[in-house]
């Protein structure tokens, strides 16, 4: 549905995007993750045809975005980070305007208008001035404008940014529903959002794709096991070293004080359960073990692991597109 091959974008000598390849198929929601300045918005803008890449190709529904821009763009719905709204227009007039600009679709406009408004929960707001809508409704309208011409590909740049938690959950549910007959690419820096919404995630860092796959696959690929959080009290300084020497422990570190005692994080190797051994070591060291909890590595842990400079080796080459189910860490 949307395929990018070896995209590069240079601003002067600075590489904003380097050798980025990706593919999103119909029925998929794919997340583009990365810290601020990673190149997410630049990548989204290239994929939406706002500006061209310095080199590389983008195909939307089989049409080359540079060589056949009109037909390729008519198959694409795009929600930029800031919803592109005209405050002086009424909701219905705005959606009719966007439809005219996008070239319309097969279904009659009146029917599409009602369907899209119902999907985005804007049915009762058709005659309201856009400038007087709440931020949540403006976001929904931003999504509605991306959908009005019934596109096959949706590109959503930080769609839930600035929304209240109830609105975020509602919008995520809506986006998940939209992917049934579309390819959806979502950029976000909200990691739980990507974890719950996306079948696959692409992790971008300094303009380069450094990993891709489902959150579960990435955990497995990185060999990340469970994380054990222990609240300990006493002579804790030597504990990380002693814990690291245990079989099956990948890493151990002391965090800031939390209430009573200190928080000790122990990362196990994949498939290893080190809770008993770690608890025994703490007690044998003369410390008090106040609490012990175990949890799986979250997408946030993986993301931090991959994007923290001192842990990242220089990347070699970017992958040439990632189909459904493929996953890799690109180093």
């Amino acid at each position: 549905m949307i395929q990018a091959r070896r995209l590069n974008k240079l601003y002067g000598r600075k590489k904003a995007i380097e050798d980025l390849s990706l593919r999103v198929e119909k029925g998929e929601v794919v997340g583009l993750l990365g810290p601020d300045g990673a190149g997410k918005t630049t990548a989204m803008r290239i994929l939406a045809g706002f500006f061209p890449p310095t080199s590389g190709t983008v195909k939307v529904a089989g049409y080359d975005l540079l060589r056949q821009p009109r037909i390729a763009k008519s198959r694409l719905g795009y929600l930029p980070q800031q919803p592109p709204l005209y405050a002086h227009m009424r909701v219905d007039d705005y959606l009719r305007f966007v439809d005219a600009v996008q070239g319309g679709a097969a279904k009659p406009l009146a029917r599409r208008l009602e369907e899209v408004k119902a999907q985005c929960r804007l049915s009762h707001l058709g005659s309201r001035l856009i400038g007087r809508l709440s931020q949540g409704n403006q976001r929904r309208l931003g999504l509605a404008q991306a959908l009005i011409h019934d596109p096959e590909v949706l590109i959503l740049d930080e769609p839930t940014e600035g929304l209240d938690p109830p609105h975020v959950a509602e919008l995520r549910e809506l986006i998940a529903g939209l992917a049934e007959d579309r390819a959806v690419l979502v950029s976000t820096h909200i990691l739980p959002e990507a974890d719950s919404l996306c079948r696959r995630v692409l992790i971008l860092h300094c303009g380069r794709l450094i990993a891709q796959g489902s959150p579960r696959e990435l955990r497995a690929l990185l060999g990340r096991g469970a994380l054990i959080e222990m609240q300990v009290e006493g002579p804790v300084e030597s504990l990380p070293g002693r814990l690291k020497s245990l079989s099956g422990v990948r890493n151990a570190m002391l965090e800031e004080s939390v209430g009573q005692g200190r928080l000790l994080l122990v990362e196990a190797q994949a498939g290893r359960d080190v809770r008993a051994a770690a608890a025994r070591t703490v007690i044998e060291s003369g410390c008090a073990l106040l609490e012990l909890r175990s949890r799986d590595a979250s997408l946030e842990d993986i993301f931090l692991h991959l994007t923290t400079e001192d842990r990242l080796e220089p990347p070699g080459h970017a992958a040439d597109g990632g189909a459904k189910g493929e996953s890799e860490v690109i180093r």
């Binding site: 694409l76 795009y78 005209y86 600009v101």
Partner: protein, 267 residues
């Protein structure tokens, strides 16, 4: 009819017009402009009448024949010439206003990621601007026609229509040209300054101090905006002036399309 209304150029123009006329301030400014037009017309009429009366009194005292003055034609010429000078300031502000807010509100991203071509975008903006100019100049055009109707003896019809038609052609060319700097940059101040400088150069081209090169002097006379307008203002039709204004409008629109295209590559 509905497919015509859904044409992207018309949709763009309608959207811009609805924005321009959404604020009560727009109607207030329009009303003030109309008042200024009326005042200018009355001032010129009064001035010309006093001038003719003074000449007639002078002729009576000296026993000579009263002078033959074509008051309606002189009035129309003076009126459209004054309006043409006013357009130098009005048109750049209008053109800049049509483009600048798209960049500011982030809506340019919607337009440039849609299947619209740069030509569509410029045509939509131009159409909206042209309709606004028509609204601004409508009372002036009406005053020109009323002058013809109420004059005794009246002006010949084609000659009476030429000053307002020339004014509209001049305004059209100015709008098309000033869309170019407006499309080139998001900075309203820079775009307005560039537009004004461009029009001022074309306005003053023929009146520059002595140019040594005959070829250059001829070229400057040819590109001069008011020089091509003078004949229209006097009620004289010359195809060369029509071709000049239409060519200038075409050039302005083509440059504006290139400016929109260049925005994609400059990002």
């Amino acid at each position: 009819m509905s497919s015509l209304a859904a044409h992207p150029v018309l949709a763009l123009a309608r959207k811009d017009l609805s924005r321009l006329f959404a604020s009560p301030l727009a109607y207030l400014l329009l009303a003030l402009f109309y008042l200024a037009l009326g005042a200018l017309f009355l001032h010129l009429l009064g001035g010309l009448r006093s001038q003719v009366q003074a000449l007639a009194t002078q002729a009576l005292q000296s026993g000579a024949a009263p002078p033959v003055a074509d008051l309606p034609a002189s009035l129309l010429e003076a009126f459209v010439q004054a309006l043409a000078s006013l357009l130098l300031f009005v048109v750049p502000l209008l053109a800049v206003g049509l483009f600048a807010y798209e960049g500011r509100q982030g809506t340019l991203e919607l337009l440039l990621t849609s299947p619209l071509t740069p030509g569509h975008l410029v045509a939509g903006k131009f159409l909206a601007g042209w309709v606004v100019l028509l609204c601004l100049l409508a009372p002036a055009l009406a005053l020109c026609l009323l002058t013809q109707v109420w004059s005794q003896p009246g002006l010949a019809w084609p000659a009476a229509l030429l000053p307002p038609a020339g004014l509209l052609l001049l305004a059209t060319a100015m709008l098309a040209l000033t869309l170019f700097p407006a499309a080139l940059t998001d900075s309203r101040v820079l775009a307005a300054v560039l537009s004004f400088v461009m029009l001022a150069v074309l306005w003053l081209a023929a009146s520059l101090p002595e140019i040594q090169s005959a070829g250059l002097a001829q070229l400057l006379r040819f590109v001069s905006l008011p020089r091509h307008f003078d004949d229209f203002a006097r009620g004289v039709f010359d195809t060369r002036h029509l071709v000049y204004y239409l060519s200038l409008s075409g050039l302005g629109l083509a440059l504006s399309s290139l400016a929109v295209t260049s925005r994609r590559w400059r990002n």
